[in-house]
Symmetry: D2
Subunit: 132 residues, 4 copies
């Protein structure tokens, strides 16, 4: 199901006073994984922006299952589907030591071209599986 | 409906290369608003942690409506409900200049007492409206 | 000596696993204070950037005196001097409850116009005291 | 001279509205490199904290030479010296593609044992070169 995976290690500054990774930081992990996945498909988030094409998150849903701690290594995996005009990234994070699921997220992105909502973008369209 | 409101102003370091506030940063705004709301009710998130009581986010759902930009002032509002063992914070962010809604979020928190899931905590229970 | 002051309150997500504000976060406080100071003088850091004018930090020196903790309120103060082509911001942070100094910083900024180092910029020049 | 090196890649959320890595983020890179270096020497920053031993930054000096941008890969290198009671980390960041220096930093840390300034800590002392 997953078509892309990226490895990370928790950095201490990402942990808060509870001694675990702060909830907001998982969105950083998710975003970086999406952008690296795009890059692997020759799509630069930054370059798109300079061309007037902005992929923006319209909705995010995150279930927090197991907190990551200082020193934890983990893997962020994803797959993509198209739902109407939305590119939906299904993303999960697994702790490396025991493959335990840490978070499960659904990230819905839409494309703005010169600030206007677009139904699709050729480069992003290639990411969507044909068999869908 | 909303019972608490906190004012903010976007800080430039919170904006990313798209020139708008990064998606993850809204979780910072939401968290800070919840913690300030708790403090106003004499509940310290930090103190609870040192007493072995951790309120942790189990699930978050955010609809991104209008992006905030450099210099924008905004208000983060909330109200709380109890659903089973979950304390559910309904939070919205409004841009100050025109009261436009920026994000709408539902944050479900649970309480861990000495690392174990608890059905409730006396101090948090006082936040839940009786008429619910 | 100080000509500008901005009030803040520590946000819990800014604290790390030592339970104190993470060192890097003070740079956020310093930057936000500089940008708000500029805004009060009708200089928008963002607008300058869109005009091809970038004020960039060339050197920073921070002495950490007293750590800030969850819930602390504090004031960030500054004054500006010109040293050669550098705009030097002298910035200190004081804890509000007892006026104790938290950090003392010297931030040297230079101006790039269309990517090239410039000796000065008219708007920024107005910030430098005449009596210097 | 350098005795430790750690590789990174810029993450897009680390870039600000100028399209370059925000100044404060370099402190995150520097801190993570120090903590990974300590871990390689079997010293856990987090574990020390739970034992009442806190290494804290007393002073930092950063010269910003070349900004990092979206997609840049870079290497953060360090070596350590002792100056009085201070453990001084000399750290530089080099852009991978051309080995250009991005920042040069001097980070002075001191050790607090149960909140009191200590002249040294056995584990950290082992990091200091004998020939110094």
């Amino acid at each position: 199901m997953f078509i892309y995976a990226l490895e990370f290690k928790v950095r201490d500054y990402e942990c808060d006073l509870q001694g675990i990774v702060n909830n907001a930081v998982y969105q950083n992990y998710l975003e970086h994984t999406r952008h690296e996945y795009l890059l692997e498909n020759n799509i630069s988030f930054e370059l798109l922006h300079h061309q007037g094409v902005d992929a923006v998150v319209a909705h995010i849903d995150i279930a927090y299952k197991t907190p990551l701690k200082s020193g934890d290594e983990f893997i962020c995996k994803l797959y993509v589907r198209k739902e109407g005009i939305k590119y939906v990234f299904h993303q999960s994070i697994f702790r490396k030591v025991d493959n335990k699921i840490c978070i499960k997220a659904k990230v819905e992105a839409v494309v703005l071209i010169n600030g206007k909502l677009a139904a699709s973008h050729p480069q992003l369209e290639e990411l969507v599986p044909l068999e869908q």
